[in-house]
Amino acid sequence: MIKIEAIIRPERINMVTSALEEAGCGGFHYQNVTGQGQQRGVEVFTGRGGRLATRATVSKTLLVTVVPDEMKETVIEAIIDAARGPDGGQIGDGKIIVSPVSDVVRVRTGERGEAAL
């Protein structure tokens, strides 16, 4: 089993979750995060509205899902397609991080391994 962590644009979260469901993903969770990469940040008014300042960090959404090894490429493809905007790939679309998972447990039944996904 592998854990897939996808840092994506917040406004794409609904497209990505729909795509994950269609791909047969059993479940996922997500949270708001703040981070910095190649994007140049945002320009905001500072203080009492007299000046602009640039904030290098931007808001993203971190989505996490654990899937069986065989589903790895399908899920990655689904996420990438949905996480890119209508204009195709742009700086700031995000990153996907894949890592091995040593065990998963279903709380209700105590099942372990792929049966718990």
């Binding site: 905001v44 008014f45 500072t46 203080g47 009492r48 509205g49 007299g50 000046r51 602009l52 300042a53 904030r55």
Partner: protein
Amino acid sequence: MDSGDTAWMLTASALVLLMTPGLAFFYGGLVRVKNVISTIMYSFIAMAVVSVVWVLWGYSLAFGEGTDFIGDFSLAGLSGIDINDIYPGTGIPTLLFVIFQMMFAIITPALITGAFVERFKFTTYIVFVAIWVSIVYAPIAHWVWGGGWLGNVGDGALDFAGGTVVHINAGLAAVAAALLVGKRRDPGVEPHNVPYVVLGAALLWFGWFGFNAGSGLAADGLDINAFLVTNTAAAAAALTWGLLSQIQTGRMGAVGVASGAVAGLVAITPASGYVGVMGALAIGFGAGALCYVAVWLRSRTSLDDALEVFAVHGVGGIWGAIATGIFAAAAIGGTAGAIEGNGGQVLTQLVAVLATGAYSFVVTVVILKVLDIVPGLGIRVSENDEAQGLDLSAHGERAFVRDGAD
């Protein structure tokens, strides 16, 4: 007793009180979330401290007969004031005058707090408010409204609702406080809650109708004019700030437009019983422009007046006081300004501006320096407390608790 006057003045007093929690939210939205409770508390606690000080000795020091400089203790505890006494020259009870004036005394120290948010020690602040109201606010109120010396300069300095007593006073005290408390170690960039700022500004605009249109102490044409010019100046200043922002940056932020409105309200405060709508438009336009520039200029200095108290209340108040001398129309308030040939009034206004500003600055510095060395007090929190945020360190509270487990 005139029941129409009295009914309005009761309402106006309540409106002015509402401005203090309005200010709490205006300031609160501008700071980082870890300091929002602290910022709100500076305003809220002023309601408590000043209300008590006022009835014990504050009113007496401001409006007791005393000397040209300060009142006396003859009215301490409001003794000798019968509940049916009428305030001379008005149709309202004396106690109602006491109440109305108290609301001004409450908000003035609260205004100063914008300069030192996120780092001023709360317990020391409570002591500061009690002392400051007694030896800075009360004397200046006495000079302008309590029969003191500024009423005898030239034809009398014109200050209908407190441009000097409240705004210039608070603005210069803010500079003193910002200088003495020092810069924040890690200032935030954005306001944590822009809707709070706008909500606060709306409550201030609403309450200002009581502030200005109550200062004639009657429900009559003069106060109605004050209401109208107050709204007009706020609107003109908000639009001016928005326009300047649009030109300079291509956008206008809500905080900027709200600050513009407040700047206009500040500037019209001394003028509201003396100018008409055309004067109000000019005053609002001037306030929006001057305060916008003042904010920009302050950012180029090393003074960490965190919430621009001087740029808005100080500069706005100074412009308003001088503009009163320019645009005063004899038909409205009985005194002519420069546009009606009485250029001398501008000089009288300048005397009031300089005297108020200088006195406020100097005495505030003295008070803070003393408080800083009293054992157990001190004006700035520790480095750790400042980093953790004053909400937790000073008040033991978190503003928004969102663990799933609550």
